[in-house]
C-alpha cells in the first residue's frame, strides 16, 4: 500500500497497534485453552505460581518473623599451619523461611580448650601451639561445632615475592587494569594485572624500565626501591602519599603492608624461591559461601581460602581484593563483608595474586512461605528452578500451545507455522503433541536450512572464500554437517585442522590471501572455546589470565598453514601445513613473539608446550586438544552458544566471552549440559531436543510479580528479536508474497527462495536485511537485535512492508476475494502472523472497525500492516 493510503488508515492501525502493543509487553498468548503438557500433568503445584506471585506482591509471603532452625560453621574442620596462622569463621543460620543468614555477629564463639589456639576479633582463630581444638558457635539456644587442627606453629612461612608482595599489590588495587596493571603501566611503573607475572613485576620494581608493546627494550631503568635507604623507596613513598601519587593513598605507614614491603627492601629485596625450586605457590582459590541469598537488610561475610601447591590451605580472606559487579545490588567492603542494597542479582569478584574467583548474590524482597512445588522435566529444570527457588523467584506459568508452537517453530526451523497446522496443533488433545512436534521439526528439511543458515553466519560463509564455487563448497560442508547431524567435535576438528581441497579448508581464505595466523587462531578459540583472546595479541590480557605468550603460543599452531594454488578464485587452492617453512607473508613457519622477536613454540592454552616430537600436523594436534574430553572449554562453549539461541542469552553472556570476570549465571547447569553433550557424542540435535523439551524453555513469556525484572534466571520467556532473514521470511509467509532476491546484474535467486537460503549473501543486496542487522561476516557476527531509526522508517514507508501487503495475489488479495466474513479473515490473519486466534476483545474491536471502513480492502491491508509491524510479530517470545 502506498504511504498515503497507510496514513489515511492510521486510525485503525493505531488502534490495532495499541492492542498488540499491550500484548507485546506481556507476550501473553491465551487464545484457546491450552492442553496441559505432560510435565504439567505430572506436576500439580500446591499453590499455583500466579497465586504465589500474588502473595508475594501482597506481602503475605512471610507474615511472621522467621525462626532460626539450625546453625553451621564455615569452614568445617580447618587446619592452621605455620606460626601465627589464622582462620576466620562464619556462622550460618538456617531459618524457617528457607533462607540461610550470616549470624556471626550475634553468635557466641568458644574453643574447647586454651593453648592450641585463641579467638581474636572478627571471629578469627589464631594458632598458638600444635594441637586440636573444637570451635563452637551458639545463637539463640542453638549451636554448631567444628574441629580445628594446629600444626607447624613454630615454622615461619618462607617469603615469596609472588604471594606476599603480589598479594599486597592486588589487595591494594595497584595492579588493577586501570592503574599499574594496564598495558603499559602508569607513571613509569608497570605491574602485571592481578600479579599474574610476578617475575616481570619483580624486574620492573627492582630494575625499573617500562613496558613496550612491540619491543622488549625497557628504555630508561629507574628502580622503584632504594636498598641504601629502604624507607625512601618510591614503592613506599607513593602509596603512602609521601610523594604525589595519582592513585592516591593505598595504605599508611602503620599498616602491615607497609611493614611487609619495608622489611623486604631491608632484606635486600629478594625474589624468594622460584616455582621450580619448590616454592609454595597458590594454585587456586575457594570462596564460601557460594550463591548467597540476602534479604533487603542482609549481610554476608565471605571467606576466601587459598589452595597451596603443597596441598595445604590458607585463609586469605583479609588479603584479597573484593569488587561488586553491581554495587547497586550489593556492596562489599575491603574485608569481604557483603551488604544488600536493593533487589537484584550480581556477583562479587575476588582477586588474589594471580587468581580470581567469584560468588553470586541475590537480594530478595521477602521469602515466599509456600513456594510452588512441581516436577522437573529434565536436569535443566532441576537446575533452573532450584536457583529460582533459592532466589525467591517464581517462574511464570507454562506457555500456551499457541505461544509454544510459534516459539519452537521459529527456534528450530526459522519458520512460522502454517495456519492450518497451527489450528490443528492448538485443537489437538494429544498429551504428547509437544514432543511429537519437536521431533517433526528436528527432522524437517526446514530445520536443516535454518541451522545451516545460523552456522553459515557463525562460520562466516562469505565472499572471502574467493569464488562462488568455493563459497558454496564451504556452505555445502556446513549443510551436510547439519543434515547428517555430524558430531560437533568432528565439525570442529575438520575446520580447525582442515587440509586439502574441500569445504572446511575454504574457511582459511581471506579474499585473495590467507588470513593471518593470529587472526585464524583467535577466531577458532572464540568460536569453539568461547574465549576472546584478541587483547593478548599485543599485551597480557588486562582482565584475564591470558598472556601474550599464550596468545602467540597458540598462534604457533597456525604458523605452518599455507597453500598451493590461487586463492583469488581463478583456480583451486590446496590448504596444507608445511613443516619445511613455506609460511605466509614470507615469514617461514616460525611464529615470532612481537616483543621479543623470539620463536614461540606451539603451546596450548593451559601452557603446555607441544613436544618437539609431536610437532607434526600442528593444527590437528590443536583440534584434538580443543575437542578432547579433558578440555572443559569446548563442550561448555558449544552448549552455551546453542543455549543462547533458544533463550536470547547464554548462561555465560555474551556466549563467546567466557572469563573469570564474566561468570556463568548457572555454573552447575552449564557443567551438566556440557557433560551431557560430551557423553552423547556432541550431538547438536539431542542438545536442542533437551532444551526445547524442558519446562524452562516452555514457560510463558507473561511475567508475574516476582519475576518481572528477572532477565537472567529463565523464570519466563524473554522476547528475542527475529533475525533479519527470519523476519523477512515471516513477512513473506504472512503476505504470501515471496521476496525476490536479485542483484544489479539481474542474477536472481529461484522463485520463492527464503532469505535463510541465501548462500552468496554478499551478492544479493537487501536494504531490509541490512536495516534489520544482517552482519557482513567479515568477523564473527554478533546479531544484537537492537531497534534503530531506519527500522522505524522502514516500518512506516518501507517497500518491503507496503508492497507485500497490497500486492495482487497476496494473502489479503486472496482473502478479500474469497467471500469470507470479516471475522474469518481476521482470524486467518492472526493465525498466520501470530500463530494464535485473536482474543474476544481484539476480534470484537477489529470486526467493527473493518466493517466501518469504506474500503474493506484497505482496512484489511491496514490490519495486516499493524500485525506485521507489531513487536509480537517481530519477536520470538
Amino acid at each position: 500500500m502506498p504511504y498515503r493510503a497507510r496514513t489515511t488508515a492510521f486510525g485503525l492501525s493505531l488502534a490495532v497497534m495499541v492492542l498488540l502493543g499491550f500484548r507485546a509487553v506481556c507476550y501473553a498468548a491465551p487464545g484457546k485453552a491450552s492442553t496441559p503438557s505432560t510435565s504439567q500433568v505430572q506436576a500439580p503445584a500446591p499453590v499455583s505460581r500466579q497465586e504465589a506471585a500474588a502473595k508475594l506482591r501482597a506481602g503475605s509471603g512471610s507474615a511472621v518473623s522467621p525462626k532460626l532452625e539450625g546453625l553451621r560453621l564455615l569452614p568445617e574442620n580447618a587446619t592452621l599451619w605455620g606460626a601465627k596462622a589464622s582462620q576466620r569463621f562464619v556462622v550460618m543460620g538456617s531459618y524457617s523461611d528457607g533462607v540461610e543468614r550470616d549470624v556471626t555477629s550475634i553468635a557466641r564463639l568458644s574453643l574447647s580448650r586454651e593453648g592450641a589456639a585463641r579467638i581474636s576479633g572478627n571471629a578469627k582463630v589464631v594458632a598458638v601451639a600444635d594441637g586440636q581444638v573444637t570451635l563452637t558457635a551458639s545463637v539463640g539456644g542453638r549451636s554448631a561445632s567444628t574441629s580445628i587442627r594446629v600444626s607447624g606453629s613454630e615454622e615461619q612461612r618462607p617469603f615469596s615475592f609472588a604471594r606476599d608482595l603480589g598479594g599486597i599489590f592486588t589487595k591494594r588495587g595497584c595492579n588493577n587494569s586501570d592503574c599499574h596493571g594496564s598495558v603499559k603501566g602508569k607513571g613509569g611503573l608497570k605491574l602485571s594485572a592481578n600479579a599474574l607475572y610476578p617475575r616481570d613485576d619483580y624486574k620492573w620494581i627492582v630494575e625499573g624500565g617500562t613496558y613496550q608493546v612491540l619491543s622488549a627494550d625497557p628504555g630508561e631503568k629507574i628502580p622503584r626501591i632504594n636498598l641504601k635507604e629502604p624507607d625512601k623507596s618510591v614503592l613506599l613513598a607513593k602509596p603512602t602519599m609521601e610523594l604525589a601519587h595519582g592513585g592516591g593513598q593505598r595504605f599508611n605507614k602503620d599498616s602491615a603492608d607497609y611493614t611487609t614491603i619495608l622489611d623486604w627492601v631491608k632484606n635486600g629485596a629478594p625474589y624468594g624461591k622460584e616455582d621450580t625450586q619448590g616454592a609454595v605457590r597458590v594454585v587456586g582459590l575457594d570462596v564460601m559461601p557460594q550463591e548467597v541469598v540476602l534479604d533487603r537488610s542482609g549481610k554476608q561475610q565471605l571467606l576466601v581460602t587459598a589452595q597451596l601447591s603443597n596441598g595445604r590451605r590458607e585463609d586469605v580472606t583479609e588479603a584479597v581484593l573484593y569488587t561488586s559487579n553491581n554495587p547497586e545490588v550489593v556492596d562489599v567492603n575491603e574485608d569481604g563483608l557483603v551488604s544488600a542494597v536493593k533487589t537484584g542479582e550480581t556477583s562479587v569478584m575476588i582477586r588474589a595474586a594471580g587468581h580470581a574467583i567469584s560468588t553470586g548474590f541475590g537480594v530478595i524482597e521477602k521469602p515466599v512461605s509456600n513456594y510452588p512445588v512441581w516436577r522437573a522435566r529434565n536436569f535443566i529444570d532441576e537446575q533452573v528452578f532450584a536457583k529460582l527457588k533459592k532466589f525467591n523467584i517464581i517462574p511464570s506459568e507454562d506457555s500456551g500451545d499457541a505461544e509454544f508452537l510459534r516459539r519452537v517453530c521459529l527456534d528450530l526451523a526459522g519458520t512460522l507455522p502454517p495456519p492450518k497446522r497451527a489450528k490443528e496443533f492448538i485443537d489437538s488433545r494429544d498429551p504428547q503433541k509437544r514432543d511429537k512436534l519437536i521431533e517433526a521439526l528436528l527432522g524437517s528439511p526446514e530445520f536443516i536450512d535454518f541451522w545451516t543458515f545460523r552456522f553459515a553466519d557463525l562460520f562466516r560463509v562469505s565472499f572471502e572464500q574467493g569464488s562462488p564455487a568455493f563459497t558454496k563448497m564451504y556452505w555445502e560442508w556446513m549443510r551436510n554437517n547439519i543434515a547428517s547431524n555430524k558430531p560437533y567435535d568432528q565439525v570442529a576438528r575438520e575446520r580447525v585442522g582442515g587440509q586439502g581441497y574441500n569445504g572446511p579448508t575454504r574457511h582459511w581464505y581471506g579474499g585473495s590471501d590467507l588470513r593471518r595466523p593470529q587472526d585464524m587462531m583467535a577466531e577458532e578459540v572464540r568460536v569453539f572455546l568461547g574465549r576472546r583472546l584478541d587483547c593478548a595479541q599485543c599485551h597480557n590480557h588486562p582482565y584475564e589470565t591470558w598472556s601474550q605468550n599464550q596468545f602467540w603460543g597458540l598462534t604457533a599452531f597456525f604458523g605452518r598453514l599455507t597453500h598451493i594454488g590461487d586463492l583469488g578464485g581463478a583456480g583451486p587452492a590446496v590448504i596444507f601445513d608445511d613443516p619445511a617453512g613455506h609460511g605466509e607473508n614470507g615469514g617461514g613457519a616460525k611464529v615470532l613473539h612481537p616483543r621479543t622477536k623470539q620463536e614461540v613454540p606451539p603451546s596450548f592454552l593451559d601452557g603446555k608446550v607441544l613436544a618437539e616430537t609431536a610437532r607434526v600436523d600442528l593444527r590437528q594436534r590443536l583440534a584434538e586438544w580443543m575437542t578432547s574430553p579433558q578440555n572443559p572449554y569446548f563442550a561448555q562453549a558449544a552448549v552455551n552458544r546453542i543455549w543462547g539461541y533458544f533463550f536470547g542469552r547464554g548462561i555465560v553472556n555474551p556466549v563467546d566471552d567466557f572469563r573469570l570476570t564474566n561468570p556463568p549465571t548457572h555454573p552447575q547447569l552449564l557443567h551438566l549440559l556440557a557433560k551431557d553433550f560430551r557423553e552423547h557424542g556432541h550431538d547438536l540435535r539431542r542438545l536442542m531436543r533437551l532444551i526445547v523439551q524442558s519446562k524452562t524453555y516452555q514457560l510463558s513469556g507473561v511475567p508475574n510479580e516476582s519475576n518481572r525484572d528477572d532477565r537472567i534466571n529463565y523464570s519466563h520467556a524473554l522476547p528475542r528479536a527475529l533475525e533479519a532473514e527470519v523476519l523477512l521470511d515471516a513477512l513473506s509467509h504472512v503476505t504470501e508474497i515471496p521476496e525476490t532476491f536479485e542483484d544489479d546484474s539481474g542474477a536472481r535467486m529461484p522463485a520463492a527462495s527464503r532469505a535463510v537460503d541465501i548462500v552468496f549473501f554478499d551478492t544479493f543486496p537487501s536494504q531490509f536485511l541490512d536495516i534489520y542487522g544482517r552482519p557482513n561476516r567479515l568477523m564473527v557476527p554478533e546479531r544484537k537485535g537492537e531497534a534503530n531509526i531506519a527500522q522505524a522508517l522502514h516500518l512506516l514507508a518501507g517497500p518491503t512492508y507496503t508492497e507485500k501487503i497490497s500486492k495482487e495475489g497476496g494473502r489479503v488479495d486472496r482473502l478479500a476475494k474469497a467471500g469470507l466474513t470479516n471475522r474469518e479473515i481476521i482470524e486467518d490473519l492472526y493465525v498466520a502472523a501470530l500463530s494464535r486466534l485473536p482474543t474476544a476483545e481484539e476480534l470484537g474491536f477489529l470486526t467493527k472497525r473493518v466493517s466501518q471502513r469504506a474500503s474493506r480492502r484497505e482496512a484489511l491491508e491496514d490490519l495486516v500492516w499493524s500485525l506485521v509491524t507489531s513487536r509480537e510479530f517481530a519477536y520470538n517470545h
Partner: protein, 649 residues
C-alpha cells in the same frame, strides 16, 4: 632463443598438413550445395557464445541454435571431427544480457547479438566424444563450441517447452537419458523427475563445458545440480528433502561440468534440479544433463581418463596427467638435437643459412642416438614399508617409480646415486586422482635427512604481500656433490591418501629439448590488405640453449608470414622468485605477422595452419615438431562502423 621464421611466400610445403583441412571438404560440399556470396557481407570477427542442444546421438539430424555476435551472413558449420557436419539455415538479430565478467561483480547490459539456426548431422558411425563446432561467416571463422556426440545407449531428450521450475511441474525422465536444456532466465530452475530403485547408484552430470574442453572453447556457465526426495514436511506437503548436491571438488572454481553421485536409499520418485550456480540465466545458458543409474563411470571420469591416456594435446611437458612411459626418453631426444648427430657439421657460432634450413625442412629426422634410445628407464614398484629413508630400495637412473599414497601420511622413499655435476630431472605423473585432490609432493634428502630439493615453487605474488606456491610436475636439479640421496614422495597434506592416489615418478638425467609449443590464438581471420599477429611460444627445457626454427605449413595463397616484433608492457622484475629455472621452462615467444595481400583470394573455408618447430643446435637443424594448429581465413576488408576493427587477441 633466436626464433627463426622462414619466409614461405605461399610456397606449398612438401609435408603440408591437410588432415584437418580435408574435413573441411565436407563443409565445402555443403557450401557448393548452398552457394553464398562470401564477399557480400563483411563484418566483425564472429563470436559464438552458446550452442543448443549441446549434443546429439549418432545417426541423427539435430535442429540447433547458436547464439553469438557478428554472425551475420554465417553460411556454414565447421567441425573438427569427421561425422559431424552442419548447415546454417537462418541468422536473425536478437538481444542478450551481457553480465560483467567478474564472478562476483554486479552489472549487466543488453547487447546486440545474433541467433543462428543450424541443422547438425551426426553420421551413424561417429564415435562418442567432443566435437568442436564453429561457424563460418564473411567475417571469418568463429571461436569453438563443444558438441557432445552421445553413445548409442544414451537417449537424447529435449527439455519440455512449458515451465518445469517447480516440483509439481517436473519433467519426467526415463533413465538413462541425456537432457538438453536451458536456464532461460535468471533465477530459473529446471526440475526433472526420475524413478529409481533401492541401492541403485545415480550418476548425474550437468555440463555446460566438458571438463577437458580446450581453454579456447567458449566458457560455459557455472552449474548447480541437486537431488531431492519429495517427502514433504510438517510445514508443507510440497517441501523437498535434499539428498545430494553436485560435488564441486571435482570441478574447480568455475564448475562447468558438475557430477552428482548418490546411492538411492529406497525405491521411489526423485527430483533433480538443474540451475546455474550464479543464479544468472539467459537464452545462451544451455546445458546438457546426463542421468544414469548404472554406476558406470561418468563422462567426467571417462574424459579425464582419456586425457590421461594422451588423448589431448600433442605434447604435454608439464601436466600431472601426461603419460610417463618407458619411451619417454626417446620422445625427449626426439625433441632435441646433439652436436655430432646431425647431418651438418659446423662450428657452434657459425651462422645458419636459410638454404641449410630449407634443406633440412624436407628431410631431417630425429637425431636420437641409438645409445640414448637404449636407455629406457627401469620400471619399479613402490614396496611398503618405505616411509623412512632407512633400508629402502635403491634405484638406478633412469627409472620410473610406480606407487600410491595408500593412506594419509604415507611417505614412499627411494635411494639413488648421482655423480658430482649430474643434472637430473624428476617428473611426476598422477595417473588416477590428480591435483587438487591429490597433490604429490616430492622431496630429495641429503645423507643427513635434510630436504634440499622439492617440487614446490615459491614466489612472491601480488603486491609482494605473500608467497604464491605451486606444486610442479617436474623439477630439475644439478647436483654439486655426488653421492647417495633419498627421494621421498607423499601428498602435500597429511590427510589425503587412498589407493587412487597413484603416482609415477620418472628420475633421469636431463635432456635439453624443446618443450611445449603454444600459440596465442586458435583461429585467425585476416582481412585482405592487412595482417594479424601470431605469437608462438616455445619452452626451452632442461638447459636447451639452441635456437628454434619455426615454420608455418598450409598457408593459403596470397598470405605471407613474416617475422615481427611485439612490444610487451614492462612488468618489472620479480624480486624473489627463487630458483625459477628449477621448476619452469624458459620460454621465448616469436611473433609472426600473417599478411594477406589486397588481392589474396578469399577463403570460403578455413585453412589449417600447422606450426612446426625445429631445434637448431650448433647450426644443425633438428627434426620437425608439429604442434599447434590454427585455423586461418582470408576475409574481405572489414568496415564495421567505418573503422578497422581492433585486434581482439
Amino acid at each position: 632463443m633466436k626464433a627463426v621464421c622462414s619466409r614461405l611466400y605461399g610456397r606449398a610445403l612438401p609435408r603440408a598438413t591437410w588432415e584437418l583441412a580435408s574435413l573441411g571438404l565436407l563443409v565445402w560440399a555443403v557450401l557448393l550445395a548452398h552457394p553464398r556470396d562470401v564477399e557480400a557481407v563483411a563484418s566483425r570477427e564472429p563470436e559464438v557464445l552458446s550452442l543448443f542442444p549441446l549434443g546429439g546421438s549418432a545417426a541423427s539430424v539435430i535442429e540447433a541454435e547458436v547464439l553469438g555476435k557478428s554472425l551475420e551472413g554465417a553460411y556454414t558449420v565447421w567441425s573438427n571431427r569427421e561425422g559431424v557436419t552442419g548447415e546454417v539455415r537462418a541468422v536473425e538479430d536478437t538481444e542478450l544480457v551481457e553480465f560483467k565478467k567478474g564472478l562476483m561483480d554486479g552489472g549487466s547490459k543488453k547487447t546486440k547479438a545474433n541467433r543462428a539456426v543450424l541443422t547438425l548431422k551426426v553420421a551413424a558411425a561417429t564415435p562418442p566424444g567432443i566435437s568442436l563446432i564453429r561457424l563460418l561467416t564473411p567475417g571469418g571463422v568463429s571461436n569453438a563450441l563443444p558438441f557432445l556426440v552421445l553413445a548409442p545407449q544414451e537417449p537424447s531428450v529435449d527439455e519440455i517447452h512449458g515451465p518445469h521450475d517447480s516440483p509439481s511441474q517436473a519433467q519426467r525422465i526415463t533413465i538413462p537419458a541425456v537432457v538438453h536444456g536451458k536456464v532461460s532466465k535468471s533465477g530459473e530452475v529446471d526440475f526433472y523427475e526420475i524413478e529409481a530403485g533401492k541401492d541403485q547408484e545415480l550418476v548425474a552430470e550437468m555440463i555446460t563445458k566438458p571438463v577437458t574442453a580446450p581453454s579456447s572453447v567458449s566458457a560455459g556457465f557455472s552449474t548447480a545440480l541437486a537431488l531431492f526426495e519429495p517427502t514433504g514436511s510438517w510445514f508443507s506437503e510440497h517441501q523437498l528433502n535434499r539428498l545430494a548436491y553436485s560435488d564441486e571438488s571435482v570441478a574447480g572454481a568455475v564448475p562447468t561440468h558438475s557430477v552428482l553421485r548418490h546411492k538411492i536409499p529406497k525405491q521411489g520418485r526423485y527430483l533433480l534440479r538443474a540451475t546455474s550456480l550464479s543464479s544468472k540465466g539467459g537464452p545462451e545458458f544451455s546445458y546438457q544433463l546426463r542421468i544414469a543409474l548404472t554406476g558406470r563411470p561418468s563422462l567426467f571420469d571417462r574424459l579425464r581418463e582419456s586425457q590421461s591416456q594422451g588423448g589431448n594435446d600433442p605434447w604435454q611437458e608439464r601436466d600431472f596427467t601426461r603419460r610417463l612411459e618407458p619411451d619417454r626418453l626417446k620422445q625427449l631426444w626426439g625433441r632435441s638435437l646433439r652436436s655430432g648427430h646431425g647431418q651438418v657439421d659446423r662450428k657452434p657460432d657459425a651462422p645458419l643459412k636459410i638454404k641449410e634450413i630449407s634443406d633440412h625442412l624436407s628431410n631431417s629426422e630425429s637425431a636420437v642416438s641409438k645409445d640414448e634410445e637404449a636407455l629406457a628407464p627401469v620400471l619399479l614398484r613402490d614396496e611398503e614399508p618405505n616411509d623412512s629413508p632407512q633400508g629402502v630400495k635403491k634405484i638406478q637412473l633412469p627409472a620410473i617409480i610406480e606407487g600410491s599414497i595408500a593412506h594419509p601420511g604415507d611417505t614412499d622413499s627411494f635411494k639413488f646415486q648421482v655423480e658430482k655435476g649430474d643434472a637430473v630431472a624428476f617428473e611426476i605423473e598422477t595417473p588416477a586422482t590428480a591435483p587438487p585432490l591429490f597433490n604429490p609432493k616430492l622431496a630429495v634428502l641429503d645423507e643427513t635427512g635434510r630436504e634440499f630439493l622439492g617440487n614446490v615453487f615459491r614466489r612472491i605474488a601480488r603486491n609482494f604481500t605473500f608467497y604464491a606456491k605451486t606444486i610442479q610436475p617436474k623439477t630439475v636439479f644439478t647436483f654439486e656433490l655426488g653421492g647417495e640421496y633419498t627421494l621421498q614422495i607423499r601428498d602435500i597434506t597429511s590427510r589425503v591418501g587412498d589407493p587412487g592416489c597413484q603416482y609415477r615418478v620418472l628420475v633421469r638425467r636431463q635432456i635439453p629439448h624443446i618443450g611445449e609449443i603454444e600459440t596465442n590464438v586458435d583461429r585467425l581471420n585476416v582481412s585482405r590488405g592487412s595482417s594479424r599477429k601470431l605469437n608462438v611460444t616455445t619452452g626451452q627445457e632442461e638447459g636447451y640453449a639452441g635456437d628454434v626454427a619455426i615454420t608455418l605449413e598450409g598457408l593459403p595463397e596470397g598470405v605471407t608470414a613474416v617475422p615481427g616484433t611485439e612490444v610487451k608492457p614492462d612488468r618489472g622484475t620479480n624480486p624473489d622468485e627463487g630458483p625459477r629455472e628449477r621448476f619452469l621452462a624458459k620460454a621465448e615467444t616469436a611473433t609472426i605477422l600473417l599478411a594477406a595481400g589486397a588481392d589474396a583470394p578469399l577463403t570460403a573455408i578455413p585453412r589449417t595452419i600447422t606450426v612446426v618447430a625445429r631445434p637448431v643446435v650448433d647450426g644443425i637443424v633438428g627434426p620437425p615438431l608439429r604442434s599447434r594448429e590454427v585455423l586461418l581465413m582470408v576475409v574481405q576488408e572489414r568496415r564495421a562502423g567505418g573503422k578497422e576493427e581492433k585486434e581482439t587477441h
